[in-house]
């Protein structure tokens, strides 16, 4: 029957009424269907967060008996910045969430420099950094009235990696690395660097200039920050550096130790001035490319936001241990951790003066 009306209504006005009714019922049905879908998804969201709360209550009780805190934290923490520190912050947020289920922790990775652009505007609470804040970033904070405090949480060692089968190279000096990566007369063939190296094209992989790893490497190897050859593959994703180096015997790349450690079977780390990156050589500073990892906290937010305060405290309390080791970095020593705690307490007591760089 429906079909008949439908065909006719193209021609006759008299049947418009029927057509109208028909489409009205269809509209109603569709609207009902859409409402159903929406209701279902909201119900789904609701029922699962309920179970989440139940879990949390039981956990809270155990946490309460542990540290005697009665209040339930429910604020939010916004972390942005370095992709190298991102796994650490992520792990801290995950563990923190287990104790304080109502807390909203947002962890984003947009590079040290990318994160500071937002931090200097006061848009984030914490900025992860794989290099210290630069004078220009520091001045922007000053202009915008943002007070910040720096915490050094862990140590990384930038690893220079080559293909597993590249038997011709095992260790290089810093000077040779500077020659390979420097902006002036970059070698096109490995034999241009050392005559005993293969007569093959140089294939290089590295992070982009938004990365703190890039800043640190250029400053410490090439000798000037941001000064590097530009004819190589850049990526925000360190796994692509691993993939590129794994794929060619003539490739070289550099990245954070955590990424090398996960890929020991895929690529080979070469020694710098004869020292290979290991947890030990990085922590005692023997490895030339050891670098500290930081997080920066907005002091005003720290004073206003209790959740942030607890989160930073939690971060520092766990800076010496398992979480950082699991992620693949070298944890802070106990005495350094005490220093961090003292610094934090000084900030909270108002005994901390921001030292803006210029």
């Amino acid at each position: 029957m429906e079909n008949i009306y439908i065909t006719y209504c193209e021609f006759g006005i008299g049947i418009n009424m029927k057509k109208d009714e028909l489409s009205n019922t269809n509209v109603k049905k569709t609207v009902l269907m859409l409402i159903g879908i929406i209701a279902f998804s909201v119900a789904l969201a609701g029922c699962v967060s309920d179970t989440g709360q139940n879990d949390d209550q039981s956990q809270d009780q155990s946490a309460d008996s542990g540290n005697g805190e009665n209040q339930q934290l429910s604020g939010q923490v916004i972390v942005d910045g370095s992709s190298t520190v991102y796994p650490v912050s992520q792990a801290m947020a995950e563990e923190f969430k287990k104790q304080h289920s109502e807390v909203k922790a947002s962890v984003t990775s947009s590079g040290t420099g990318g994160g500071f652009k937002k931090f200097v505007q006061g848009e984030t609470d914490i900025n992860d950094a794989s290099r210290p804040i630069t004078p220009s970033e520091s001045q922007k904070c000053k202009e915008n009235g943002i007070e910040y405090v720096e915490f050094k949480v862990a140590t990384d060692g930038i690893s220079v990696v080559v293909n597993q089968n590249a038997n011709w190279i095992d260790s290089v000096s810093k000077d040779t690395l500077a020659e390979i990566w420097g902006p002036e007369n970059p070698p096109q063939k490995w034999s241009d660097v050392k005559s005993e190296w293969p007569d093959k094209n140089v294939e290089l992989y590295g992070p982009t200039s938004a990365s703190g790893t890039f800043d640190f490497f250029t400053e410490n190897i090439v000798g000037e920050e941001d000064s590097s050859r530009t004819d190589y593959q850049t990526t925000e994703n360190d796994n692509f550096i691993i993939k590129g180096v794994k794929g060619s015997e003539n490739a070289m790349g550099y990245l954070g130790y955590a990424y090398y450690q996960q890929n020991e079977d895929n690529v080979k780390a070469i020694g710098i001035n004869g020292v290979k990156p290991t947890v030990e050589s990085i922590s005692n500073g023997e490895y030339p490319l050891s670098r500290p990892l930081y997080f920066y906290v907005n002091i005003d937010h720290l004073k206003e936001n209790e959740t942030l305060r607890e989160f930073v405290k939690f971060y520092i309390e766990n800076a010496d241990g398992e979480i950082i080791r699991q992620v693949g970095y070298v944890p802070a020593t106990e005495s350094h951790q005490n220093d961090l705690m003292n610094k934090f307490e000084n900030v909270m007591d108002g005994n901390y003066e921001v030292n803006y760089k210029s």
Binding site: N3, I6, T7, E10, I13, N16, K19, D20, S23, N24, N26, V27, K29, T30, I37, I38, S41, L44, A45, V48, S49, G52, Q76, I78, D80, S83, Y86, P87, Q90, A91, A93, E94, K97, S101, E102, V103, K104, A105, S106, V107, T108, S109, S110, K118, Q121, E123, T124, E236, N237, D238, N239, A258, Y259, Q261, Q262, N263, Q326, V327, G328
Partner: protein, 283 residues
């Protein structure tokens, strides 16, 4: 002589062959994608994955906060883009007439449809996150994605409205209906299937977007689902992006693939809803 015979028509045969090749390219690449995702996701995709929060241990990692973030995002984008897009289309098609201003507006809308999505992210960051002080909230994300898909919604709705035969409008006027009555009772019901299809397909595009959300600073990892429109949020593509960047292989392959699989399922569900709706209205 049968004019439809292909015998001896070499050009026709070559053309047919090229068409088959063209079709195969699309089908084959989709098949390869689905196969490799399924293969990698095996063992990772289960209920716990859907209902857990992210974790640094691949076995415990889940996508729940991002899934709920994406669903909320999709609903909000639908609520914003449908009235704005369809309203613009009705105005341009039924009221604006043939003026030079209308041509300029239409040209701009078509151009906006081709602007790279990251540019909308910059706009969203400047306008919603900073100027309107919404922060990195769900609503800022939804409004940014609304701007992104609005041109597509407008253009597809315009096409649907244009496809309504003028004879229907004339007939309606002929029995004394006003313009408002004609639009409400004739044009919109007639154009609705096309409008719905266009809107839902562009919504699918919106929930697959990563770049604009990264730009406005949405979280790549959230540990709880959003609980209101001003809440912080993450979305499925962002969480997948974060996993692909993790050092561990289990994240890059297994967990990320499970995320991609879930995103594909959500997208396919949306597209089937679009087809269902279209079929309901089609006459």
């Amino acid at each position: 002589m049968d004019v439809r015979s292909n015998k001896g028509d070499l050009k026709g045969q070559i053309f047919l062959f090229l068409l088959v090749i063209a079709t195969c390219v699309g089908v084959a690449s989709l098949a390869i994608l689905v196969y490799s995702v399924l293969e990698d996701a095996t063992g990772w995709f289960d209920l716990a994955f859907i209902f857990n929060s992210p974790s640094r241990f691949p076995e415990e990692a889940g996508i729940y906060p991002a899934l709920i973030g994406s669903i909320y995002l999709m609903l909000l984008v639908a609520v914003f883009s449908f009235p704005l897009g369809v309203g613009t289309a009705i105005y341009l098609e039924e009221y604006a007439g043939q003026s030079r201003i209308k041509n300029i507006i239409e040209l701009n809308i078509s151009n906006l449809a081709a602007v790279p999505s990251i540019v909308y992210g910059l706009l969203g960051l400047a306008l919603f996150v900073r100027a309107l002080n919404m922060g990195r909230s769900l609503i800022a994300g939804a409004l940014t994605l609304t701007l992104l898909i609005l041109p597509i919604v407008i253009v597809s709705s315009q096409e649907a409205i244009r496809a309504v035969p003028d004879s229907l409008r004339d007939a309606s006027y002929g029995i004394g209906s006003t313009k408002w009555q004609t639009i409400r009772k004739i044009v919109i019901p007639e154009a609705l299937p096309g409008i719905m299809t266009g809107t839902i397909l562009s919504l699918s595009r919106a929930i697959g977007e990563t770049a604009p959300l990264i730009m406005i600073g949405a979280a790549t990892s959230m540990y709880s689902a959003p609980d209101g429109i001003f809440s912080l949020f993450s979305a499925m593509p962002l969480q997948i992006y974060a996993w692909v960047g993790q050092p561990q292989y289990a994240f890059q392959e297994g967990v990320a693939s499970a995320g991609i699989l879930l995103l594909l399922i959500v997208l396919l569900t949306m597209n089937s809803v679009a087809i269902l709706i279209r079929n309901r209205f089609q006459r």
